[in-house]
Symmetry: C2
Subunit: 296 residues, 2 copies
């Protein structure tokens, strides 16, 4: 199948290459020439001058960009996907954007006779490289069925959550749970340290019970190792928590622990720690309590 | 061994019986006669008129009561344990109290030549009945070694976390993680529902990734089943979050998500839902968003 892929970043590049390795004809475009450099040597990858030129050759166009305005620009901007795509083509957006934005994009694409699936992922760069992502998809069942074989090349778990936007809702829920749990683990381990108790022993004691989470196991260990390398960059998690809080505002919905987490993620980015992993919230908490500031 | 057990509630009663079944001579006392009724038929259990009378016969006295003032009363009040206990005896407090309170009690007991171990538990009533509790112990290594064989009759995981108070610190960390995660799961599932997406599908999608926690698996399912039976009563979790926030205040330590959780647990108790499980926070969140109040 001819597949267009737009958004060849840390996540997108390995994802696009999985599709090419599976035998699909891969069409790429990027705003910056250096992004395309690794693809020029590959005879099986076709490089295009614009999203519209790419879309003219592809039955399916996948987008994996930073946020909703980027998706809108590559789809509907000058030289955008809708200018080139044949009627009946499919757009799969795997970026993390607001559910309402996904629904708006689906409606605009329908006006061009183009189908849409929102299919954000979790699992990070490692999941993208290992094709072990969790893919959360929203859209009509027949559209999901069309995209599913491609999505299964990228993720270990591919779930049709519901109608358009439902993939983004599931991703928002994922970011609530992972973000809040990172905070709770940082609070607990710092509480232990400030109380004069070895946080390693506390983590070991708690892993066997109801306090167990994958975040306590993995991210908790990284906090103890003082390994703040991403992983998942704090500014991206901050962006996602912004989506969550905007949706909560729109729905008139209180999210007390997610709100507290979003504020600390704001502080993380404002402290210049945005390029580190979100486990760096530990550093912010350590700046208080126990009387010894340790940032950065 | 002669073991005194004070605090024969939902947790304490099955714990005491595990000790008796293992062949230890069990000595009990309770403030209310009806608490002792189930023990009167048991020829192997000795019932006493006061904590001091109980302590006079026991090498080890275990307390499992509601909060620090209750521990202080049975140990140091009129007819208290210290009036009867032989020098060199051991007091093991398995209640959940403040770390600072545990350290104070240890110091007072040392003045009577009595040893002390703080050994709070997690795992709830079910863990007590099945002897599958996690026991988090704080005290000198030789005191822990003395108590360990008894504690292993009550819990599957018995961990010596550190010096006196360290068990309570670990328990506080456990209550931070379980409390905050219950809140995060309730927020995420309610966010999905208010977004028009099936929260069951969202939970399934998230269980396979970094959002996994035992709380999402167990308590998340109970929220979907609308099963608000304890489990662990909300007023007890509220009490424990109060201990956490008092300690945070004393240490000058910010706990943003634990603080948000403590406030919602206050609201839960204030709404008359204190006797339900803490998963009932879902009901509070549902009272907002989606425009349909559902309490109780």
């Amino acid at each position: 199948m001819n597949i267009g892929f737009i958004g060849l970043g840390l996540m997108g590049k390995p994802m696009a290459l999985h599709l090419a390795r599976a035998g699909h004809a891969l069409h790429v475009w990027a705003r910056r020439a250096e992004t395309l450099a690794p693809f020029r040597a590959d005879a099986d990858v076709m490089i295009h001058d614009s999203p519209s030129a790419l879309a003219a050759r592809a039955e399916v166009v996948i987008t994996m960009v930073a946020d909703a305005p980027d998706v809108v620009e590559v789809l509907f901007g000058t030289g955008g996907v809708v200018e080139g795509a044949a009627p009946g083509s499919l757009v799969v957006d795997m970026s993390t954007i607001a559910p309402a934005a996904a629904r708006g994009i689906a409606a605009r694409l329908a006006g061009h006779d183009l189908s849409f699936l929102d299919a954000p992922v979790s699992g990070g760069e490692r999941g993208a490289i290992e094709a072990s992502l969790t893919v959360m998809a929203g859209g009509p069942a027949e559209v999901f069925a069309r995209a599913e074989p491609l999505l299964r090349l990228l993720g270990r778990s591919v779930i049709h959550v519901g109608e358009v936007g439902a993939g983004q809702v599931a991703k928002a829920c994922n970011q609530i749970l992972t973000g809040v749990t990172v905070m709770a683990v940082a609070e607990a381990l710092n509480f232990a340290r400030c109380s004069g108790v070895d946080p390693c022993r506390v983590r070991e004691a708690l892993l066997g019970g109801f306090a167990y989470s994958r975040i306590l196991e993995n991210h908790g260990q990284r906090m103890l190792d003082r390994n703040f390398q991403p992983g998942f960059k704090a500014w991206m998690h901050q962006k996602d928590m912004g989506i969550v809080m905007d949706e909560a505002h729109r729905l008139g919905l209180p999210l007390p622990t997610a709100a507290a987490t979003a504020q600390v993620f704001n502080a993380l980015v404002g402290s210049g720690l945005g390029e580190e992993d979100s486990v760096a919230v530990l550093k912010l908490l350590e700046a208080f309590g126990g009387g010894r500031p340790v940032i950065p």
